[in-house]
């Protein structure tokens, strides 16, 4: 069903919401923009009250899951897990920049897979930066590695990326089946990054090692690691015991927080901030806005361009188109638009190929999207000390190869 005026209004509201999120002006938050936009679309009749309710109900469990995972990640930071990782990386690399890069790859991939890409970018990157600084080694390849792996390694588990959580709900896969289908594509994407990084940054990585004092043994927070382990085990067994994975995430969040709450090392307000309520409202609002656009004709347009078959050429086309889309409008709205269409396709293949596209795609234009970058340049005209050609070249070397390798391996995994 196409309704021109309603579609136009919905697209304008979507564009304004994204512009606010990208520019983050001081006078209006993206949560307010997305919330107000969603209400406006209901008021003007672009989406019915029941339609909006359906969209919110569909997103509710995903947003709850996200909040629980954010609280778990914050608990890990509070308990010193990331600092301990820094010590592990410094000890293991023994002064060699190349070995440090290997440790950063493994750590960033693991943190991204288990605690999501946010944790890698927000919590791990400063630790990696500090580790490189202490080793008196160039932080550049290490920081680039965090930024890239936050996307490339985010294919593995439903919890690794918000895009996965959104698709997981629509894919009707079990947690374990999702992971089993995505393990080879993730390995391929990370492998491509390693091959490119070790050549691209060869000059930074061949510098001689420094004989610095070896840091003391790391003290891994055992309780925190234990809670993480139990949460992951719960995810894996969720389909066997018949409890939705979100409840294991909630249990993990409670378990990791309770000791700190009783010891008063964390306040309820700090806890609420860790769950990022503004972001959760933004996701819900964005969901309603995209639903309004989809119901009024965007859906038909997406259906016209996005293949839904399960053959290898179809999957490659889906991954490629999704990557382009993620670069044009950022991968969150891209996922909201594409997944409902991909979910009507042949089995889990189209949904997972869409994820490969929207998760790996953002590396093409640095981190985020081309739109993010261009808009920032226009809106803030900020001076940058990064050569844009360099990161575009790094993206051009890793993304197309990663997309193809990951999609081919997904196709193979689906044949078994």
């Amino acid at each position: 069903m196409t309704d021109g005026p309603s579609l136009a209004v919905a697209l304008v509201v979507l564009a304004v919401t994204l512009a606010v999120a990208v520019a983050s002006p001081p006078y209006v938050s993206e949560a307010v923009a997305a919330g107000a936009g969603a209400v406006l679309l209901v008021v003007v009749g672009a989406i019915g009250l029941s339609g909006a309710g359906d969209a919110l109900r569909a997103l509710g469990p995903t947003v709850g899951f996200l909040a629980a995972m954010l609280v778990i990640a914050e608990g890990c930071r509070r308990d010193g897990l990331f600092d301990a990782m820094g010590v592990v990386m410094a000890r293991g690399s023994a002064g060699s920049p190349r070995r440090l890069l290997a440790f950063v790859f493994v750590t960033a991939a693991a943190i991204t897979a288990v605690l999501s890409l946010d944790a890698t970018i927000v919590l791990l990157t400063p630790v990696v930066f500090a580790t490189a600084a202490r080793m008196r080694s160039s932080a550049k390849p290490q920081v680039y590695a965090c930024a890239h792996l936050a996307n490339s390694a985010s294919l593995l588990l439903p919890v690794s990326n918000l895009t996965n959580l959104l698709a997981f709900h629509a894919s009707h896969l079990s947690f374990l089946r999702f992971a089993a289908l995505m393990v080879l594509p993730t390995a391929a994407a990370v492998g491509v990054e390693w091959l490119v990084f070790t050549r691209f940054f060869a000059e930074d990585l061949t510098r001689p090692r420094h004989t610095s004092t070896r840091p003391a043994r790391p003290e891994l927070p055992r309780f925190t690691v234990g809670v993480l382990g139990f949460t992951l085990a719960g995810f894996a067994l969720s389909s066997v015991v018949g409890i939705a994975p979100v409840w294991f995430a909630v249990a993990g969040a409670v378990a990791i927080t309770l000791p700190a709450l009783t010891r008063k090392t964390v306040t309820p307000i700090a806890l609420a901030r860790a769950a990022e309520p503004g972001f959760l409202i933004f996701v819900l609002g964005l969901g309603v806005i995209v639903q309004a656009a989809s119901a009024n004709g965007l859906d038909t347009a997406v259906r016209a361009v996005l293949p839904t078959g399960g053959s290898l050429p179809d999957l490659l086309a889906i991954a490629g188109l999704s990557a382009v889309f993620a670069n044009l409008v950022n991968n969150l709205p891209a996922t909201l638009m594409l997944i409902p269409v991909a979910a009507t396709g042949a089995g889990a293949g189209p949904v997972l190929a869409t994820l490969i596209g929207v998760n790996l795609g953002p590396n093409l234009t640095y981190v985020g999207s081309l739109a993010t970058l261009l808009w920032r340049r226009v809106l803030r005209a900020e001076d940058t000390d990064v050569d844009p050609r360099e990161f575009l070249r790094l993206g051009a070397l890793t993304v197309p190869a990663g997309l193809v390798a990951a999609t081919v391996l997904l196709w193979l995994a689906l044949q078994v």
Binding site: V122, R134, Y144, H210, A274, L332, G368
Partner: protein
């Protein structure tokens, strides 16, 4: 004589030792370290790529600039101790090559080390930043080998008469090593 000694993480000991050996005792020495802000920009941009997310700010020591500033301070202090003479310390941030040139504005001599290939004599012994500094230095330059200089036989033999020139004509490739000045 005002001497500016630019040290980098890899070669600072050799640079300090040579500066001490070669600079006259009455030289006013300034030790310079420049922290590249590029990794901080990459990390900041990665955070901005997380659309709509405003995680609570990390505790102060996690601020990248704090980490970078502290590392620079420690390196400069260690370098002054190794030099064993009085010296002014200067820590700058930004685009490394441009900051070094700017810092050398009022110096009489700039002491710096080769930062590229140390195995053989030739243009690759200079990395992009050092090459820029040498090309644009507004003062005398004292360029040191961080280790013992490689032997003369590491220079490739001259081309046969009538063969291609050892280096392409400058107009076609202004950089003798043919590499991108910004990229690796």
């Amino acid at each position: 004589m005002r001497a500016l000694v630019w040290i980098i993480e890899d070669t600072w000991q050799a640079t300090i030792d040579d500066a001490d050996a070669l600079l006259p005792s009455e030289a006013e020495i300034t030790l310079l370290h420049v922290a590249s802000t590029e990794p901080e920009t990459v990390a900041r941009a990665a955070r901005r790529g997380l659309l709509g997310r405003h995680p609570p700010p990390p505790p102060a020591p996690q601020e990248l600039q704090t980490i970078s500033d502290q590392a620079a301070r420690e390196l400069l202090t260690e370098a002054r101790a190794r030099l064993g003479r009085s010296a002014t310390l200067q820590a700058r941030r930004g685009r490394v090559e441009r900051e070094v040139v700017a810092a050398a504005e009022h110096a009489d001599v700039l002491v710096l080390a080769r930062d590229g290939d140390r195995e053989r004599l030739g243009p690759r012994s200079l990395g992009p930043a050092t090459r820029f500094v040498i090309d644009h230095a507004p003062c005398q330059v004292l360029l040191i080998w961080p280790d013992i200089a490689p032997e003369l036989r590491t220079i490739p033999p001259p081309p046969p008469p009538g063969g291609p020139a050892p280096h392409p004509p400058p107009r076609k490739s202004p950089r003798p090593d043919g590499r991108n000045p910004q990229g690796p």
